[in-house]
Symmetry: C2
Subunit: 134 residues, 2 copies
DNA sequence: TGCATAGTTGCACTATAGCGCAACTATTAT
DNA sequence: ATAATAGTTGCGCTATAGTGCAACTATGCA
């Protein structure tokens, strides 16, 4: 699948960030794929930030991204086997602050806006919308 | 056991380094405990470097260290459950360069020098011994 | 054709991680 | 006591990671 060999510590490096863990937790827990704007509305983080974190996850061989018109859908990969074991760890993580739970709640709400399983709207949260030029 | 709450990303941060992965791989694969000098002779890395990495693993809640005379024995912890799942990942990691295998070979050789299951000698490799002051 | 918008990325800044050196503590043996 | 040695750590250095801002590309719609 990927031609470049990925060092083992790179994989863990990819998980060694709270925002990336939130992304992974969300996608692993739901088994869903998600476009960037849905993630923005779920994690309440700006798109440029999430976009960069998604790139890191992709380069670490954890995530695949597919463009579909204006939207890009991201989903976790299921191979090789140490990756799926990694997801077992992620699912077993404590959620002391309830951050993961809150992300999930917002994500599920956001999924209701889909039409035919596809995201047809952009970022809903005002504070993360690109402000129109007057 | 540990009173301080450890953030999830700290745990992965602890694995996000090649040297620390080598330490963990060695201890997880063998189920052994090891003192610093044995690790130096197995990983061929200077003691100050390994000592610092061991501290990071300890602070991440992955490792426990017990002093016994002049020696300090380190072993991986088995709780909480996401930790043991993490070890499943470590065991499933590819060893493309054979680094883990080479570490294991040297470790097993080094274990032969133990007496009554305890390490009674210091660093064997010349290049990592503290040079005597003439 | 032109505008709105989903998403990406260059840049500058700051914070932190890992390193080697050398000095340090603690324990044992002579 | 004193020397040797197992192990730890402060310091200074360098490299890199994460961030916000703003500019950028690309796609679809009026």
């Amino acid at each position: 699948m990927h031609l470049t060999r990925i060092p083992s510590d790179t994989v863990f490096q990819a998980l060694a960030d709270e925002t990336r863990l939130r992304i992974i937790h969300l996608l692993v827990e739901t088994g869903e794929e998600s476009c960037l704007c849905e993630l923005v509305d779920s994690l309440l983080e700006p798109s440029y930030k999430l976009s960069r974190h998604l790139k890191i996850l992709r380069q670490a061989g954890l995530l695949t991204s597919q463009k579909e018109g204006r939207w890009v859908y991201h989903r976790m990969l299921e191979e090789p086997s140490y990756i799926t074991r990694l997801y077992d760890v992620v699912r077993a993580l404590p959620d002391a602050d309830g951050v993961y739970a809150a992300d999930l709640t917002r994500f599920h709400e956001r999924l209701c806006l889909r039409d035919g399983g596809r995201c047809l709207v952009g970022i809903q949260r005002e504070e993360f919308r690109a402000e129109a030029v007057d």
